[in-house]
Symmetry: C2
Subunit: 360 residues, 2 copies
């Protein structure tokens, strides 16, 4: 057990933005909300999964929707707890531990808000080891754990509870309701026992994100290379360096979808890299060659500061580096790749682990 | 109290089809399902609203979606009761009485299936006195009674429960989920006390529908004019006689929308009537003059048999009469017209009661 307070927040938000692979929402918004909650309620307890009793009732607290919308439609306070309470009421039990849906952007800092406001501990784990755009893309799905019941709440006081037969249906229904609610809503989902999260969730990713963030902040202070520092902690590769020359982006069906083109500079001068995204970056291609693809992580960072750039912040002229990081091994199994591999997202390519591509 | 058995079914289905104003789904499907349920479980008890205890827990059982879809995707048995049970579980009380959402097509016969299969009595009332396409278009809305919680179930075992702040939001969410479920799903909704239904529901519409149906069947047997017989019971007007020459129809956003054109015959020879619909017939116009509009009832019937023709059965060449019937007085209040008047459906005309139009 450790305490997580206001002083831990900058590093977590920064590291989670890197692991968020362009999605997960504006980390600034989540940091603001968590700052306020931690100031009002004091630090929250962070437990290692091994410290959680096997019969604990754990549930995710998360925001769902298009990150592009979340920048303009700031999440409120009431609906986050409303979704959590509606889930408790539906299952007829009190939730004892808060868990993270993903370790990217808003969804790594907002569960801290839920923990602070409910007084519950948060467990150091998440269901993606990164950010992904859809609910079923969660490691518990690989362990046959249902996302349902899912409670969804909006800022108008509407609440919807979904009991879907599988996690793909859960995503379909939750996405429709989220779109109706204005393309962003709070959800509470994936009720699991303590025993289940030890098997089905990816452990210690809050800690990893905080260490990545600290490494970047420390390197900046020392005048060292922040990107090198982040990669040293996260493990990974510098895929490409250049200037953003084009961004296509649209918000459709509750997602921010699009593509960016980066014109190479320095060692990459003369080449172009395209990165396609659906909330999160999905695939990076250089002259027809895939440099990295889902489920491995692809993050665009500011070339000078190492600050991760979300898909909604992308714009012409930014000088960036593109960083690739291997995903958790659960995603590299046949079942994992079926759920979140390049083919699921419509790319007719075989997944090749990023470290194999860079060995060549 | 009276008993409703297999022998009452033909008349109810026929009369409800007339009051269904083209919508409410294929009465044949509902009659088949009710026939099976009544044969298996025996007759159901039909109570007059005055016989219902004030503290009774009444709830509607209905099908939601595009009638065009219901013809091809027959509703199953499990999901109807599943929605009803999910609503009971959500409110934490047992439902004591079944009520009808609308007295049109499927939704007047399917509650009889629910009553037969649950062993509960059904109350002789409905929330529209006709059929309407959207949930909030219910007389309880005029009495500030919430449609929520609404339970929705499909044939795959999915269940969604909606707790919306108002009945327009309830419609929005339920429609999205229905579309996701394949454009047709079972719902249970509008939990009301016995005291509330006596105020907020339109009484004795099951009886009215059965009397209309009996009148048509009787006239056919005697060789009399079945349309005249129906109008005598329902009250109303013969608006137009002719041949269907054009039908435009599309299923969009969970509705069957479209327009028919009827070329006049006999006394209407040389004139054209257009009838526009959204599941139900909305407005009938002859050479730019409105002959009838929502909330008054507009039903197209076969010119020979008086058999009501639903919007999905419309086709070129049918010889038809168009019948208009005054709606319940609750719909003619300013609040009623705001909810279901022509302007709500996008027609920039003032509602004029059908009997005023025909006085001229």
């Amino acid at each position: 057990m450790r305490e997580f307070g206001v002083e831990n927040l900058d590093a977590l938000a920064l590291g989670a933005a890197l692991l968020g692979t362009g999605g997960g929402g504006d980390p600034y918004v989540g940091r603001l909300m968590a700052h306020q909650a931690l100031t009002e309620h004091g630090p929250v307890q962070v437990l290692d999964p091994s410290e959680v009793p096997d019969d604990a009732v754990c549930a995710m607290s998360a925001v769902m929707g298009a990150p592009t919308v979340l920048v303009e439609k700031l999440p409120g306070r009431g609906e986050q707890i409303a979704a959590f309470r509606a889930l408790e009421q539906h299952i007829g039990r009190e939730i004892t531990h808060v868990i993270c849906a993903e370790i990217g952007g808003l969804n790594s800092t907002l569960p801290i808000v839920t923990a602070a406001r409910t007084g519950l501990p948060i467990v150091d784990c998440d269901a993606m080891g990164r950010a992904f755009p859809e609910i079923q893309m969660s490691t518990p799905t690989l362990h046959d754990i249902g996302a349902s019941p899912i409670a969804i709440a909006d800022d108008k006081g509407n609440v919807v509870v979904i009991d879907a037969k599988n996690n793909h249906w859960a995503e379909t229904f939750a996405r429709s309701i989220t779109v109706d609610m204005g393309a962003a809503a709070f959800i509470a989902l994936f009720v699991q026992t303590g025993a289940q999260i030890k098997e089905a969730m990816i452990p210690n990713t809050l800690d990893l994100a905080e260490r990545i963030g600290s490494a970047i902040l420390g390197a900046r202070q020392r005048g060292d290379d922040p990107i090198a520092a982040a990669i040293e902690v996260a493990g990974g590769f510098r895929l490409f360096e250049g200037k953003v020359t084009d961004v296509e982006r649209k918000t459709s069906a509750g997602f921010a979808r699009g593509k960016m083109t980066i014109a190479g500079l320095a060692k990459d001068a003369g080449a172009n890299l395209t990165v396609e995204f659906q909330n999160e970056n999905l695939i990076a291609t250089r002259s027809g060659t895939v440099l990295a693809s889902v489920p491995d992580l692809i993050t665009v960072v500011d070339a000078d500061t190492g600050e991760p750039i979300t898909t909604e912040e992308l714009k012409y002229g930014l000088r960036v580096e593109v960083v690739g990081i291997p995903c958790h091994e659960m995603w590299r199994t046949p079942e994992g790749l079926e759920l979140v591999g390049p083919r699921y997202f419509g790319y007719n390519v075989e997944f090749v682990p990023i470290e194999k591509i860079w060995e060549r």
